[in-house]
Structure formats: structure tokens, C-alpha cells
């Protein structure tokens, strides 16, 4: 222990000039409110902000520099022999150097803040409400970030300064890891589970920092004076852990979006108008970071099919119960219509050729499930489900208050509430035809309304 303390203090002693520079930098912050070009008023907050800005630049710089020079530089310059020729274990040498490299930016940070704090800068006020109101969380996070930076700089410096082809392997592994993580993030973003992204990324970052520290220590232990051997050890220790972590993140993402139907908490169940035994079940999956999937569930057989997100993919059913279609989002910016044959027990969701350009406001399936009516903001479209052929299209005035229903296989009824009026207009669209007005009626303001399968509006 004495040896470790001696090592740390001698390291800090060697860098005392940097600490002195930090103290000067802190004094410089005191002068900031006196500068004429800065806005007057609230000099306290200006002082605090200046000191924190200096801290935010100075501390990471020091952490990177200290981490990069602490051991890798000495190994490259063959100066590590001084410590290796003494009764110090490699772990102790590593721990002493790393601790000093982490302490230096932290001490420097404290020195930068000290003059402003003594002058009464309201640091606490700047963070009010942030970090859950805990006064220890901000310094704790800063310390963790410094350790992470030091560990990263140490490993990067070993890899860069050894000047070996292993660096290419490192970059390849880094690329593979980045691809795995990006895929995991894509999966989670696509399923709209930001909490899972945060949780997974935090765990992955923590794992990466631990792996960097462990691999750096191992590199010093096995490499000693030989930077090339250190680099090899580092890569062999680091990448399996990091890549396993990245793969774990991807598997975690897939696990989140693979929540089964029985994991739903307080599921919302909706029975379709059709005659099939299928119901729609949606809700928040338990322990899946807020993921809200949507399922089609066959009450007769107990089979469930995941069809998308609860608030996005509510399906339309054919009145005879033979088919359900819904809007899926295979990519972030594109939609497609998928369909499921409800009459066959072994049917799987299929992509239909229908690819709507915009986001439909309303979607309705014909009684036998052969046609699909899509209501967009400014048009009404009628498709054949099997071949995706556009059977009719009419342009509409932009409005959001519209409902649809199929009167039979070939006719759609559209009910519109006219803007800023209590009046409703009813019109029909037949295959290949135009929109034919069918009548108007009035209803009191503020009613909730829908359209029955027979085409009558109800409130």
C-alpha cells in the first residue's frame, strides 16, 4: 500500500506544473465577469458558467493526455524498466499510474472550480433539478467519465504507439462492434423503446470501460517493456469482451422486441367486427422497458401473431372473418401493408404489394377481404389486396375528420365532418367510379362518432 501511495504521489509530483496551470485557469475564470463584451448582470452565474466551461474543456483534455502518456509512452520509450526493476508487481505499477492519471484531471478540475467557488459562484443553482437533484451525482458522473477517458486513452495509445498491423485488426473489430450496436439501436428505435436503448447503452458503456481497464492492466502485465506484446495482449483481451458485449446488446434488443403475448401487462383487447375467432391484443410488455407490441390472437386455437406496435398497427378485418390487414413499418420511413389469412391455422403474415406513400388516416377491408380502402389526408384509395392494383382513387379536400366503411365488396361509404360545422356529408365510391354524394345531416358539436358496418353514422 505504501508503495502504491508513493507511486501515485510521485506521478502527481512530476505533473505539478499542470496542477499549477489548472489553478491559474481557475483564477482566469474570476476575471470573466469583468470582460466588457460579456452580458452584464448576474455576475455570479456568469462566473460559475465560465468556470464550468473551462472545466469541461480542460479536464477531458488532461484525462486523455494523462491516460495516453501514463504507461504507453513509457513503454514506447523503454522507461518502464525503472519500475519493472523494482519490487513492484505489474498490477501495482498499472494501478499507481492509472490512479495518478485519473486523479490528475480530477484534482485539476477541483483547482479550476476552487477560485470561483470561493468567490461564491452558485454552482448548485445551475444544476437545480438536473441529475435527480442529487448533489453527489454530478461529481460522481464526472469522475466516472474521467476514468473512462483515461482507460480509453491508455488502450488507444498502446495500440497506436506499437505501430503494428494489429491496429488494423483493432479497427476491424471496432467496426464489427459498431455494426452490432447500430443494429441493436435500430431494432430498439424502430420498436420505439428509448428506455431500452438507454439501459443497454449504459450497460455496454460500463462493460467497455471495465474491459478497457482490465485489458490495459493485462497488457502491462504481459507486455512489460515490450509494446508490441502489450498491444497483442490488449487486443486479445479487449475485443472478445467488447464484441461479446455488442452482440449481447443486439441480443438484448431482439429479446426486448420478442416479448410474447403473455408478457403483456393490462392488455387492451379489441374484438373485430368480423366473425372470426381472432381478437387484437395490445399493451405494455412486462420488463421490456416500455415496449408496447400488438398481437393478433386466435381465441379458438390460442395462437398469437405479432403484428407491430400497439399504437401503430391496429388491423382492419374482413367482415366475413377471412382476413386481417395492417400497416407495418419495415424501415423508419416506409410503410407496407401486411395481411394474414385468418382461415388457416398455419398462415403467416404476408406482405401485400400495396405500398402507401403517406401515412393513412384510416384503413378498411372489404366484407370478403378482397379490397382495401385507404384514407389519406387528401385522397381516398381503393386497392385489390391480392394484386395491389389501384382500383379507384379520388382527391379530397384536406381534413382529418373522416370515416370509412365498405357497403359491399365494390362500394365504399365515406362520412366527413365539415370543418368548423356541425354538418356531416355522406358519399359513396364504387369501383372505377367517382365520389357520389348521398346526403347530409347535422349533429351536436363535440360528439364522438363512428360508422357502422352498414354505413350509418352513429354517435
Amino acid at each position: 500500500m505504501t508503495a502504491l501511495v508513493a507511486l501515485v504521489s510521485s506521478e502527481l509530483r512530476q505533473r505539478r506544473l499542470l496542477l499549477a496551470a489548472s489553478a491559474l485557469l481557475g483564477l482566469f475564470a474570476l476575471a470573466a465577469p469583468l470582460l466588457p463584451s460579456l452580458p452584464a448582470g448576474q455576475p455570479g452565474e456568469l462566473l460559475a458558467a465560465t468556470a464550468l466551461a473551462l472545466l469541461a474543456i480542460w479536464t477531458p483534455l488532461l484525462a486523455l493526455a494523462a491516460g495516453a502518456t501514463a504507461l504507453a509512452g513509457e513503454m514506447a520509450d523503454r522507461r518502464l524498466g525503472f519500475y519493472l526493476a523494482r519490487p513492484l508487481s505489474t498490477w501495482k505499477i498499472w494501478a499507481g499510474k492509472m490512479a495518478a492519471a485519473a486523479l490528475l484531471p480530477l484534482l485539476a478540475g477541483a483547482l479550476v472550480l476552487l477560485p470561483a467557488a470561493l468567490a461564491g459562484a452558485p454552482f448548485a443553482a445551475l444544476f437545480e433539478g438536473a441529475f435527480g437533484g442529487s448533489s453527489l451525482l454530478a461529481p460522481g458522473l464526472a469522475a466516472a467519465a474521467v476514468v473512462a477517458l483515461v482507460a480509453f486513452a491508455h488502450a488507444a495509445a498502446i495500440a497506436l504507439r506499437s505501430r503494428r498491423a494489429w491496429l488494423l485488426l483493432d479497427l476491424a473489430a471496432l467496426a464489427v462492434g459498431a455494426v452490432l450496436v447500430a443494429e441493436g439501436v435500430r431494432v430498439l428505435r424502430h420498436a420505439f423503446v428509448p428506455d431500452a436503448v438507454t439501459a443497454g447503452a449504459s450497460a455496454l458503456t460500463a462493460l467497455a470501460v471495465v474491459a478497457l481497464l482490465a485489458a490495459g492492466a493485462l497488457a502491462v502485465h504481459r507486455g512489460r517493456g515490450d509494446l508490441a506484446a502489450a498491444h497483442r495482449t490488449l487486443s486479445l483481451a479487449l475485443w472478445p469482451a467488447v464484441l461479446a458485449g455488442a452482440l449481447g446488446f443486439l441480443l438484448f434488443a431482439r429479446w426486448v422486441v420478442a416479448a410474447p403475448i403473455d408478457s403483456l401487462e393490462l392488455p387492451r383487447v379489441r374484438t373485430p367486427h368480423g366473425r372470426a375467432s381472432w381478437v387484437v391484443v395490445g399493451g405494455q410488455a412486462a420488463h421490456r422497458f416500455g415496449y408496447r407490441p400488438l398481437f393478433l390472437f386466435d381465441a379458438a386455437t390460442g395462437r398469437s401473431v405479432r403484428i407491430g406496435l400497439e399504437w401503430f398497427s391496429w388491423p382492419a378485418f374482413a367482415a366475413d372473418g377471412s382476413r386481417a390487414v395492417w400497416l407495418a413499418q419495415p424501415q423508419e420511413r416506409s410503410q407496407e401493408v401486411r395481411s394474414l389469412d385468418l382461415t388457416r391455422a398455419d398462415a403467416h403474415p404476408r406482405r401485400t404489394p400495396i405500398a402507401p406513400a403517406g401515412w393513412p388516416q384510416w384503413m378498411e377491408l372489404s366484407p370478403r377481404g378482397e379490397r382495401l380502402a385507404l384514407l389519406q389526408r387528401d385522397r381516398l384509395l381503393l386497392y385489390g389486396v391480392a394484386d395491389g392494383r389501384l382500383l379507384a382513387a379520388v382527391r379530397l379536400a384536406p381534413s382529418s375528420e373522416r370515416r370509412l366503411t365498405f357497403l359491399d365488396e365494390d362500394r365504399v361509404r365515406l362520412v366527413e365532418k365539415q370543418a368548423r360545422a356541425k354538418r356531416f356529408a355522406v358519399s359513396d365510391l364504387a369501383l372505377g367510379g367517382r365520389l357520389e354524394p348521398r346526403g347530409r345531416f347535422e349533429a351536436p358539436e363535440g360528439v364522438r362518432w363512428g360508422v357502422s358496418p352498414l354505413g350509418t353514422a352513429s354517435s
Binding site: S10, A85, R86
Partner: protein, 252 residues
């Protein structure tokens, strides 16, 4: 028991062979000089010996232990003077001694200071700003502070002026007389080392040409003269040079 024992030591860097099949034993209290030109493998040998590098082949025993595994423990019994001074440049000799006092189990701070004063090295000046000779003298004083049983010196007189070289050799002789340390040193300074070494090893291109006691070796060279006009090597330097001539053979 031999203080140093190398058995079939081999070191490779990728495809380049730095050392191959080097076997060497140095008994306790002996002074062994390892001679070789630059790149002959002297530094690799020293680094393996000190547990700073893992041999690619063979076995190393330092005071009876494997230095790669037991390095930290062994270094309380071994003093090292490196080829290139490697003490932290920002610390003064006084600060270095203070640091090492807390690192070693025993440390004679007073003796280190007395030595440095004898060497005329300023105690308060940062190591990085000392002259080359002063740096080596500081490293020597720091290598002796824990009274090691074994001293390993990697070309200790390289780049030193006559005065500093004399100081280094005198200090070594003093340690030999007072405490009976074992010494392994690599060197270019053949004349200087000839007087204190009683054993030599010669490396050429990573291979050991010979390793034996100095006196019998010289005796054999002398006995080789066939006629009074034959030129036979008489000094270590001449033996070393003759070994590096083509087709030179060590007399049996």
C-alpha cells in the same frame, strides 16, 4: 548454486531471431561480462534475465527463481543499471531515493546520498537535466540502495567520460569487496571490464560464441602460438576482435 542460469534461451521478434540457444551460468560472487556488438542480443538477454521480457524458448533462473513469474519479489535482491537512463526525468535524485525507500523493503537513504555526493551529482536537480554521466551515476547509486545480492548492468560505461567511467568501476569494485555481490554486465568497454571480470560470454548474432572463465581463456590463446613470430591475442579486446574475424575459432 549459480546466481544466474540460462538454459537454451531463445528470443524472437516475429521472424527475427534475437537470441538462440544461449546457455550460461554465473556462480555467486563472480563478475561475468557479456560482450557483443550492437544487435548481438545483449539487451534481449538482460531483459529476459530481469523478467521484463518473456523468452520465446528456454529457461531462465535468477537467484533460483523464474524472473518472469517472480520478478517483483526478486527485484528486492537485484540492482539494475539500464543501458539508457530510465528514471522519471521530472524527479530529482533526492526525490527518486525517497520514492524507492517506500518501494523497497530495506533502503539505505543515507548511503545513496553519500554516494551521490561522492559522485558530485546535484541532489536537487531533476534527473532529466543531468548530464549523461551523472544520470548513469544516479542510476548506479539507486541500484545499490537496497544492497542487492546481484547487480545487472547493461553497458554501464556507454557514453561516459573517463572520470565517470572510473567512478562506476570503483563503485563496483567496492561493492564486490564489501558485500561479495554477483555482477553481470554487458559492455563495449573491454579494457575497463577486463580487470574486474573473471568470466566472459561473447554473443554474436544472437548466439553464444563462448562463456567461460577469463584466465583459462587467455591461457589457451597464449598456448596457441606455434612460433615466436605468431601474433596471439593477449587482451580481452584482441580476443573479442579475433572472434569477429571470419573463420576464427576458439582454441580448444
Amino acid at each position: 548454486m549459480a546466481a544466474i542460469e540460462l538454459r537454451d534461451l531463445g528470443v524472437r521478434y516475429g521472424r527475427r531471431t534475437a537470441l538462440a540457444e544461449v546457455s550460461l551460468a554465473v556462480p555467486e560472487r563472480e563478475v561475468c561480462a557479456v560482450l557483443g556488438r550492437n544487435g548481438a542480443g545483449k539487451t534481449s538477454l538482460v531483459r529476459c534475465l530481469l523478467g521484463q521480457q518473456r523468452p520465446s524458448a528456454g529457461e531462465v533462473r535468477l537467484l533460483g527463481e523464474d524472473p518472469w513469474r517472480a520478478r517483483a519479489r526478486l527485484m528486492d535482491r537485484v540492482g539494475v543499471v539500464p543501458e539508457v537512463p530510465d528514471a522519471p526525468p521530472g524527479l530529482s535524485a533526492r526525490e527518486l531515493s525517497t520514492l524507492l525507500r517506500r518501494v523497497h523493503r530495506r533502503w539505505d537513504d543515507a548511503a545513496v546520498r553519500a554516494r551521490l555526493e561522492r559522485f558530485d551529482v546535484p541532489l536537487g536537480q531533476p534527473f532529466g537535466r543531468l548530464s549523461r554521466g551523472q544520470k548513469t551515476l544516479v542510476q548506479l547509486a539507486l541500484a545499490l540502495g537496497h544492497e542487492p545480492e546481484l547487480l545487472v548492468l547493461d553497458d554501464p560505461t556507454l557514453g561516459l567520460d573517463a572520470l565517470a567511467r572510473r567512478a562506476v568501476l570503483e563503485e563496483l569494485v567496492g561493492e564486490l569487496a564489501d558485500r561479495g555481490v554477483t555482477v553481470l554486465l554487458t559492455t563495449h568497454d573491454l579494457a575497463g571490464v577486463e580487470r574486474i571480470a573473471n568470466r566472459v560470454a561473447v554473443l554474436r548474432d544472437g548466439r553464444l560464441l563462448l562463456a567461460e572463465e577469463l584466465e583459462p581463456l587467455k591461457e589457451r590463446y597464449r598456448g596457441r602460438a606455434a612460433s615466436p613470430l605468431d601474433v596471439v591475442p593477449l587482451t580481452l579486446e584482441e580476443i573479442f576482435l579475433s572472434l569477429h574475424e571470419t573463420a576464427a575459432e576458439v582454441p580448444a
